[in-house]
Symmetry: C2
């Protein structure tokens, strides 16, 4: 009997995790696996690109976890610089195009894994597709940007959008000695944080010597006669000269091919999948930045482009493709980033998200230290909690602080995941020794204060009633 055929579109986190897991469970006599990758690298860390640009990471090679050759040694037929340009769901074939010679060929499949990732959001306004406007998503984008920066032609950079990637790239450019401005429509950068925490981010960015233009939209990119970007125009008429414009508006799922083929999308615009990572088309699977996930608190479907989810989802798809059983349990919006020496992290719902999801809640913020206050190297940490009124269920948490602050978000993420109330969080047996935390860990102090806020609210209601 001929081996079954699995075709994987996309050779980064989700695609290669799926391929590798499927191979672990089924040998090449049983399952033939072909992977198409448009770029020059497989299994690389897209999240590491800003650090490569900024110089903290020395070379592209360090960002690559596994090369095509390593995957091939594992019996995966990896075809590089090959783009899938068409999927025929009824014929169960894909059309692959070699980017080397431009030739197309047809590849049949029994199962298809769609793992095309995401593309940077690009405003439809004038000039945003000009030369000198960069979105950074795949490894080749990073190489292109570094080439541009190395050319010596760039002195001024405008980053449009102050999300995670925008700020990481702004810092990288600043480290390279450039004049950097970040433009963001919100009043505080990284809109997934509440403004009180976002305020810390704004200060950290400004302390780096980066100019922030907040509460204003970039309206167009001005180009010279050669069609190259020379300035960004913003609302109200200001003009920011720049030899380089970087898109930092976030990403959207790369679903054009799926849409054309008729693979159904969800309400969020990502590919709709069930918890085993099956799309709504028999035999077609998907994972990574291009799919939508279920938020466990709001119930909403959303696209979260993050390497950690891509790896997990790819693993789940691969186990299922390999004949096993695995599910992806959804997300709760955990994220972390660093701006200079400021660490910020979040999990669960922000105030705005909690409000949209229909929750009534209280908040509590506390300032403490990462180690015992008297211990050398103790750094400031602020923990903010959002708890449901009456039940006290922890809905969200945000942290801002210095070294050693942000990773505490994982404790709170685990608490939210389990539906813990703030009174229960307060009882948690967390580790304590002076080099690691005050005798009340900041997480516990915050839980105590949130508990008091829940209690006070119930009392106020009782009095009012």
């Amino acid at each position: 009997m001929a081996a079954e055929r699995l075709v994987v579109i996309g050779g980064d986190a989700a695609g290669m995790s799926a391929a590798s897991q499927a191979r672990r469970r089924r040998g090449s006599d049983d399952l033939d696996i072909v992977v198409f990758e448009r770029g020059r690298a497989t299994s690389y860390s897209a999240c590491g690109i800003p650090y490569w640009i900024g110089g903290a990471v020395g070379s592209e090679a360090e960002l690559i976890a596994r090369t095509p050759e390593q995957h091939r040694a594992n019996d995966l037929d990896v075809r590089m610089r090959t783009e899938v340009v068409d999927i025929d769901l009824s014929a169960r074939t894909v059309t692959a195009r070699s980017l080397e010679d431009g030739k197309d060929y047809t590849q049949p499949y029994d199962s298809l894994m769609y793992a095309t990732g995401s593309v940077p959001m690009r405003p439809k306004a004038e000039g945003f597709d000009a030369e000198g406007v960069y979105g950074v998503q795949v490894l080749d984008d990073g190489a292109d940007l570094i080439r541009e920066l190395d050319s010596g032609r760039v002195e001024r950079v405008v980053v449009v959008g102050g999300g995670y990637i925008g700020l990481e790239l702004a810092e990288a450019c600043k480290i390279r000695g450039l004049d950097v401005t970040v433009v963001d429509l919100s009043r505080t950068p990284v809109g997934t944080f509440d403004p009180d925490i976002g305020q810390f981010i704004a200060e950290a960015v400004e302390n780096l010597g980066i100019t922030m233009v907040l509460g204003e939209a970039a309206t167009s990119v001005e180009t010279d006669d050669d069609g190259r970007a020379v300035a960004v125009h913003i609302q109200g008429g200001r003009r920011l000269p720049a030899e380089l414009v970087i898109l930092g508006l976030g990403v959207r799922p790369n679903v054009a091919l799926a849409k054309k083929a008729g693979i159904p999308l969800g309400s969020s615009g990502g590919i709709a999948v069930d918890n085993r990572m099956r799309t709504q088309v028999e035999g077609v699977w998907s994972a990574g930045d291009c799919v939508e996930s279920r938020h466990r608190l709001s119930g909403q479907r959303m696209v979260v482009a993050l390497g950690t989810h891509a790896n997990k989802q790819g693993r789940v798809a691969g186990i299922n493709l390999g004949g096993g059983y695995a599910t992806f349990p959804g997300v709760i919006g955990t994220a972390v980033t660093k701006v200079c020496d400021l660490e910020v992290a979040r999990t669960g719902l922000s105030e705005q998200e909690a409000d949209s999801a229909g929750y009534c809640f209280v908040t509590a913020s506390v300032d403490s230290t990462t180690k015992a206050g008297y211990f050398p190297g103790a750094k400031p940490i602020r923990v903010k909690l959002i708890a449901e009124k009456r039940t006290g269920t922890l809905l969200g948490a945000q942290i801002a602080g210095r070294e050693g602050a942000a990773k505490r978000i994982d404790t709170l993420a685990t608490a939210i995941w389990n539906g813990m109330g703030v009174d229960e969080v307060l009882g948690l047996d967390l580790s304590y020794a002076p080099p690691f935390s005050p005798v009340w860990d900041p997480v516990l102090i915050a839980a105590r204060k949130a508990f008091e806020a829940v209690e006070a609210d119930v009392r106020a209601d009782a009095r009012a009633g």
Copy 2:
């Protein structure tokens, strides 16, 4: 109506937390609060003493969170240098003795809070009560030890017992330039860790230039004609010369006074309390190092002397004494310490504890990095998990690594607290960005490996069946 009278014995973490919480809820017209403290300080960090000795903390004052004067400003009648020498449960009085003038007086109470803490374990063998043999538990012990070290008379130190405090004190003495030897009966130090993790601790201690004598007991302390310690003798006849001997065998609950009065102890030797911190005697409460707590996994009662529990339990007692309702939910054995730059942490059950508690389990250990492997400053981390066979329930976790490793134990503690299986842990939405973790956080990699171990065990059983 006269105010009710609360008498608190012991003015550190548990006692002062209880007094402060009770005061927050009941004014002095309603509740009169008298606190007796034997020493010279209230509300200090006993856990910080080794760092004061080693010089990382500059002065005693930095270890004091709140002075007697600050407590008095809060309407607490704090009586320093006053030891309670007797409790009459039927008369509801205590006998207090001023350590200044030696005079005794009787103090009546309606409610009694017993918060006497712990005392260092001291072998009954010859010489362990000699001059020059130090146990370090209260702040005054630290001051005494520093005086001794400052005298210049000490060159060689033997620490008997390689538990947390023993090692912290050994390191502090080494930092002061002394010749330090640690003697411990176990094959690896800090017996609450499994030997494979304890091995890392032994290496870190030895790298500091501290001599470890493992698997051998100290049998006696040799004294000179003045009765001062001059050497420690160990099994097999070896003699370790030392001008100073430090007890590092851990602590036992300070229950002599309670026992004499007839306050019942539990099976572990600590005072038996319910989850509201009530003893078995009406009107008598207790909290902190002197009580026993329930281990949530093994169900066993045990004494865990740790400032974080003392504070929480004191708070719970104080809320209840203040007319509120609060409970202490028990412990799961979380602990963390640092030896030079090695960080080690544990939570839940060790292999030996899991075995004693009757669990059948598998283990999984993984080596990873604290940040993305390519990110500057990424440090090694080993995570070991213990999971119940068949159910996959996470029973215990241990971590050893360098900077940024140990605090991850809190995520695992929260997972254990909630009874999560390793497959569920694997699904957790933990924070990821290259400066904070690899794309698979070490906690998740360990969960994945533990899951595979559980799965393999079930398969092996099925084949055998």
